[in-house]
């Protein structure tokens, strides 16, 4: 087969996919920002990419040094004292964090803490993590402003609560402005504060989880720190903690002795190993490059632009797609409930129709507390022209729903395949390639 046939084959496939190099990728809570190509160049340097994972520490000083410095930068952003770069992504970071919580209470002989509190707006991985770590989930109500309800918190806080998992800004994009009081209440009853760092893009360089009273935070390098994601990884979900939790962090740790770096295996209270070798090292190189390219001011400007872009998007859309909890910081959750009532067109249909306009669909039907939810996070990397193109498309679809609803309910029309039977796909799972397949 000639080379150009192979090139054409893969180019054709890449065009059937949607990716952030083609157009805005408006998933909410996922921070699908553009990934600068310089990150890729650094990760491909042969000294990094060709390094054998069994190379002795003295032959891997550059890589260990990068990891150490990245750890310090991330601790600075998070307002924390110590960090592990091992966890492979958000959900594994969460599990690491909750296992740290468990180890901390056990080390103090505080065995009775078996419940972890989670607000009803939280991402589904939070309760799943808690259950996997052997704790019991207690769901807390959100109030009318979309924030954690303090009375709901007070009513469940007692000596069997291990901690609270709270994303900030939360999954509605709303900042938990009572966070200091919340931390005080949780700490007062002996619990720990865990922050899911999914939405750090709204805060970095401006406010630090550590200063809000959080004890543990995981950071999604593949979201906030601009390493590619969306294709199933690899990602990285480092977990940063306050000093009192540092002894429990995964093994091996990383330490600086004079001018050289070494792996630290002597960690008797550690929860153990979380990932093979030292985590997804290539992702760490990308995140380090990103932070070094931005610098301190750039990190802050990134968050400011992310919030500004979302404010602009919200202002353009809120008349047609109301915001039950108001404009969020870096993302907003719109409701298609009124549109559905008037026209019969569901948020699912709107999302499918967006594909015809050349965009990826936004996050829909999540968080669960917003009816016909449509969640969009424009990110800081989009220009005003691209934001307008997306807003124009959504407004055009709302018009279509009023005048020609079948056009929307039958979408997508312009994609290689049209409306798939998601129900059947779920009921008759077929995820393994078979050479006997006719298709």
């Amino acid at each position: 087969m000639p080379e150009h046939e192979v090139v054409r084959h893969y180019t054709e496939i890449s065009l059937k996919n949607h990716h952030v190099d083609r157009a805005l990728y408006p998933l909410g809570s996922c921070t699908m920002k553009y990934n600068p190509k310089v990150n890729e160049q650094m990760a491909r340097l042969s000294g990094f990419a060709g390094l054998h994972p069994f190379a002795p520490a003295e032959a891997a000083q550059g890589a260990l040094g990068l990891m150490h410095e990245l750890g310090e930068l991330l601790c600075e952003v998070a307002g924390m004292d110590s960090i592990s770069l091992q966890p492979a992504a958000g959900a594994q970071g969460e599990l690491t964090g909750v296992l740290l919580m468990r180890a901390y209470h056990r080390a103090r002989g505080d065995e009775g803490r078996r419940r972890v509190l989670i607000p009803d707006s939280a991402h589904g991985t939070n309760p799943a993590t808690v259950a996997l770590a052997g704790f019991e989930v207690v769901e807390l109500r959100s109030n009318e402003a979309g924030r954690l309800d303090l009375d709901s918190l007070r009513s469940v806080l007692d000596a069997d609560v291990a901690g609270l998992m709270l994303t900030n800004p939360n999954t509605l994009g709303v900042f938990e402005s009572e966070i200091l009081e919340i931390s005080e209440l949780v700490h007062g009853s002996g619990g720990l504060m865990y922050m899911d760092g999914a939405n750090l893009n709204a805060l970095m360089g401006i406010a630090r989880p550590g200063d809000m009273g959080y004890d543990i935070v995981h950071l999604n390098l593949h979201k906030t720190f601009s390493t590619p994601h969306g294709g199933g990884g690899p990602g990285a979900g480092p977990v940063a903690v306050k000093a009192r939790l540092a002894p429990f962090l995964p093994t091996p740790g990383l330490k600086k002795e004079g001018e050289s770096y070494a792996l630290d295996w002597d960690r008797p209270e550690s929860i153990g190993k979380i990932h093979g070798f030292y985590g997804n090292f290539g992702v760490l190189v990308r995140a380090y490059t990103y932070l070094r390219m931005l610098g301190r001011d750039g990190v802050r400007e990134t968050a400011e632009a992310a919030v500004l872009n979302n404010a602009y998007m919200s202002a353009r859309l809120e008349e047609r797609f109301p915001l039950p909890y108001g404009r969020g910081m870096h993302e907003s959750v719109y409701s298609g409930a009124e549109l559905k009532r008037r026209t019969g067109v569901k948020t699912l249909d709107v999302a499918k129709r967006l594909l015809d306009y050349g965009f990826h669909a936004p996050t829909i039907y999540f968080p669960l507390i917003v009816s016909e939810a449509l969640m969009t996070e424009p990110t800081e990397t989009e220009t005003r022209e691209e934001l307008d193109r997306y807003a124009d498309a959504l407004i055009a679809i709302a018009d279509e729903a009023e005048h020609d609803p079948e056009l929307v309910t039958g979408a997508p029309h312009a994609t290689p395949v049209t409306r798939l039977d998601e129900g059947r796909a779920g009921r008759r799972l077929d995820v393994r390639w078979s050479f006997d397949n006719d298709a």
């Binding site: 699912l348 039907y365 998601e422 129900g423 059947r424 779920g426 009921r427």
Partner: protein
């Protein structure tokens, strides 16, 4: 738009409670409105005959393309039978929620709990809110 039969009672958690030929036995499923909101049902986890529940206990889960929801027992009582057909074909919950898509047959422990359920009119008001 959703079908709400007059002959049934309803819970605020979107279950219906239907009569059987025995006074103290009822059929429970989810309403037409609930299946419409959930979208295509992919899997339903039901209890086993002989299990007992208090009112508002979780008696099963329902997994749809959009979300996974828990189902709350509208009355206290014992499970007499479950609809095994929906294990094979969960789409019955979408296509015929009040018929072939029924879920559980309960023996009611306390008949007064039935009095607290919603009428068809009251349920219609609830979902129109």
């Amino acid at each position: 738009m959703s079908e709400i039969p007059e002959s049934l009672k309803y819970s605020e958690e979107h279950e219906y409670i239907g009569p059987t030929d025995a006074d103290d036995e009822v059929i429970v499923g989810i309403t037409d409105y609930a299946q419409g909101e959930l979208g295509d049902v992919v899997y339903v986890e039901l209890p086993a005959p002989g299990d007992t529940f208090r009112r508002m206990d979780v008696f099963g889960t329902i997994e749809a393309v959009k979300a996974v929801s828990e189902m709350y027992s509208p009355v206290s009582g014992e499970v007499l039978a479950v609809n095994e057909a929906i294990d094979e074909d969960p789409a019955l919950v979408n296509s015929d929620p009040y018929g072939a898509g029924w879920m559980v047959r309960f023996k009611v422990e306390d008949a007064s709990e039935l009095e607290e359920l919603l009428s068809a009119d009251a349920y219609r008001l609830l979902i129109e809110e």
